[in-house]
């Protein structure tokens, strides 16, 4: 197994509150990792540090062989859902994804359409995102995280607001990504998601990451 993400002696405080103290974590390629913990325990901050959105106070984070820091702000091939879905309200789902895809210019319209269909959105719908339900916005967030075939997926609560059928679709999609060799980190408040998907689970407890024995079905 290859280590694709490595955290060494990482400490982080946020607005005067200590979140992590000297944590170490190795994430192996092609595995699904679950991070659990109560609200405010620092799950999102941990993900933001891995994505390079915020930097640790101490320690190093290496993603795909490159240390994330001032010189390399974010890993290249990473798909992210953090905090909540982000969108331009007065544009359609397709237009939203197209505008994000234009930044890298790596994928075609057909790939965007295919990704929207994969997550259960209708690519040709004229409905603007401001009229989307919460679940549809969540699917849009998932679509942007996977549409460029990102090899590392960092998904904070990817199943939020999804109906049972959509949860099932996304779970199967994530498992297929795992079989393709993609690496996934996710959080979920539903133990069932963690049990079904995750090969490794860590709980945030007293500023540390503690391994939990996963209950894989």
């Amino acid at each position: 197994m290859t280590t694709i993400i490595s955290l060494r002696n990482v400490s982080k405080s946020y607005k005067g509150i200590t979140l992590f103290e000297n944590i170490n974590l190795d994430i192996e390629k092609g595995q699904i990792y679950g991070i659990v913990g109560p609200n405010g325990s620092g799950k999102s901050v941990l993900f933001k540090m891995i994505c390079g959105f915020v930097f640790p106070d101490e320690g190093t984070i290496v993603v795909d062989g490159i240390e994330i820091g001032r010189s390399k702000r974010f890993p290249h091939n990473i798909g992210v859902i953090i905090d909540r879905p982000g969108y331009i309200a007065n544009k359609t789902g397709f237009q939203n994804l197209k505008e994000l895809a234009m930044i890298r210019g790596e994928i075609s319209d057909e790939k965007i359409i295919q990704t929207m269909e994969q997550v259960g959105l209708q690519p040709n719908a004229k409905q603007k995102v401001k009229h989307y339900s919460l679940g549809m916005k969540q699917k849009l967030a998932i679509a942007q995280a996977i549409m460029e075939d990102q090899q590392i997926l960092v998904l904070d609560e990817p199943f939020n607001a999804l109906d049972a059928e959509s949860v099932d679709i996304i779970r199967r999609l994530l498992l297929s990504f795992k079989h393709e060799g993609r690496t996934i980190l996710l959080t979920s408040h539903h133990q069932e998601d963690i049990d079904i998907l995750c090969d490794h689970v860590f709980r945030i407890n007293r500023y540390q990451l503690e391994p939990v024995v996963p209950m894989k079905h």
């Binding site: 890993p75 992210v80 879905p85 930044i103 210019g105 990102q150």
Partner: protein
């Protein structure tokens, strides 16, 4: 990377809706004023028609006109956390820099054309159409000069070009200040109101102290006061420039608290 992102931003900005908005601003605003003054006013020279055409509603709404060119689309991105999802694709500072530069570029282009288009039409096209009746000048008549008329000695085209560039520079300054305020102030309504309020409050204050030559309005649209030395137009401009540079430095230092 910045150049590439600028190209992306230009493509994203050139939507049918935006093109229609910019076209309406460049053509309709001066056209409405032009048709309002084409009857019932007495003109002796085309340059007077131009000066009257870009008076009225354009000076009153100038900061709003400058801000409406590009900032609503930035606000849309800001409101619903779209920018957070650009971050795995492009460094944040590159993205924001490209937004700021595109805001300046497009605002500059639109405000330039907003002045230069009516100038070209009135000076070089209208006289063939005969829509304005010009009275003949006699020796005893004197047309009062206004600020920037100093450039007429180099030719009408130079005057139109220099004046339009001046309006564009001011448009860029107002919209750039608004952009940086949006980046740093949590309430977008306040961020977008401040440049507009500055413009009108300082117009009022300069009128109160009987120094209209330093009012923001009269230094950009100097047709309501008699000709002033050119340096006078730089007074509110330099003030805004200092505000702009200060905001830029603050924004760079405040990156972690940007409203994105």
């Amino acid at each position: 990377m910045l150049y590439r992102q600028l190209v992306v931003e230009l493509k994203r900005a050139c939507t049918k809706k935006n093109l229609l908005l910019w076209f309406s601003m460049i053509v309709l605003l001066p056209a409405i004023r032009f048709f309002m003054i084409s009857k019932g006013y007495e003109f002796y020279k085309p340059v007077e028609v131009f000066q009257e055409t870009v008076s009225g509603i354009i000076p009153l709404l100038f900061p709003a006109i400058a801000m409406i060119v590009y900032l609503p689309s930035f606000l849309q991105e800001q409101r619903n956390h779209f920018i957070a999802y650009t971050r795995p694709r492009v460094p944040l500072h590159i993205y924001i820099m490209s937004k700021g530069l595109m805001n300046a570029l497009l605002t500059g282009a639109v405000t330039f054309l907003l002045t230069f288009f009516p100038f070209i039409f009135i000076m070089y096209v209208e006289n063939h159409l005969g829509m304005i009746h010009y009275s003949s000048l006699n020796e005893n008549m004197h047309i009062p000069a206004v600020t920037f008329s100093q450039f007429l000695r180099y030719g009408e085209f130079v005057y139109g070009l220099v004046y339009s560039v001046w309006v564009a520079i001011n448009g860029v300054l107002y919209s750039t200040i608004a952009f940086m305020l949006l980046l740093n102030i949590s309430n977008p309504f306040i961020a977008l109101s401040l440049p507009f309020l500055f413009y009108h409050i300082f117009n009022f204050v300069t009128a109160l102290f009987d120094i209209p030559m330093f009012s923001p309005l009269s230094t950009i649209f100097p047709f309501n006061i008699e000709q002033q030395p050119l340096w006078t137009v730089l007074v509110p401009f330099l003030f805004l420039l200092v505000v702009s540079v200060t905001l830029f430095v603050f924004s760079i230092r405040n990156e972690n608290e940007w409203m994105i």
